[in-house]
């Protein structure tokens, strides 16, 4: 019942390439997130957004950038990929209503390998 979609599912690219990981949701959620999941499976927040034209850096320093031009779309871009960027990237969204926080809905993830 995926209402949040990530593409591509798998990506192998060479060092120095520019890439964009796509994330779209159809639930009208205001809040969106990007997490990097390390091999030990721990989740690290790298970017989030409260809504259109809002973007914030997360707890983990990242060389990636994000944009939020439309509510449903939250792409993540790496200008110059490096092997250290090899990881699983998870996109998530949630409602953002006063006094009633909702759970996160996650996409299927993008597994990125930089050679």
């Amino acid at each position: 019942e995926a209402d949040i979609y990530q593409t591509p599912r798998y990506l192998v690219i060479g060092t120095g390439k520019k890439i964009t990981l796509e994330c779209s949701q159809t639930m009208g959620h205001d809040k969106m997130y990007w997490y990097q999941q390390d091999p030990g499976m721990e989740l690290h927040l790298i970017h989030y957004s409260y809504g259109v034209n809002s973007t914030e850096k997360g707890d983990l320093s990242s060389e990636s950038t994000v944009s939020r031009i439309r509510t449903e779309h939250f792409p993540l871009t790496l200008e110059s990929a490096r092997p250290s960027h090899t990881s699983q990237y998870l996109c998530a969204s949630s409602e953002y209503r006063t006094g009633n926080n909702s759970p996160l809905h996650f996409g299927n993830g993008t597994r990125l390998t930089v050679t």
């Binding site: 997130y33 499976m41 989740l43 953002y96 209503r97 006094g99 926080n101 996160l104 996409g107």
Partner: protein, 118 residues
């Protein structure tokens, strides 16, 4: 700062048995939300169960239930009648309630990998 600790990196349980995954957290807030998420191998992370801190009653979803001990800041997940499909990483998460004056933080534990033995 809030923290979430899952002290069991891996656990195993026999099929049809019951298993409990532990989670403790630290916060100075009185109102917040707690969640358990499940991430099967190579599959989407999904919500298993959630608990609102102001509710005394433990949440239950079919074979999944929690033991929420607010004073002890403990939020364990019990899986009854374990099935092969329960094999996954399980993440405990804390989310503070919304406020205009602070950031909306969601804190995840490091996860517990659950193996189901046939």
């Amino acid at each position: 700062a809030q923290t979430v600790t899952q002290s069991q990196p891996e656990m195993s349980v026999q099929e049809a048995e019951t298993v409990t995954l532990s989670c403790t957290y630290d916060t100075s807030e009185s109102d917040y939300y707690l969640f358990w998420y499940k991430q099967p191998p190579s599959r989407q992370m999904i919500l298993v169960i959630r608990q609102e801190a102001y509710k005394q009653q433990n949440a239950t979803e079919n074979r999944f239930s929690v033991n929420f001990q607010k004073a002890a800041k403990s939020f364990s997940l019990k899986i009854s009648d374990s099935q092969l499909g329960d094999a996954a990483m399980y993440f405990c998460a804390y989310r503070q309630t919304y406020s205009m004056n602070r950031d909306d933080k969601i804190i995840f534990g490091k996860g517990t990998r659950l193996h189901i033995l046939p």
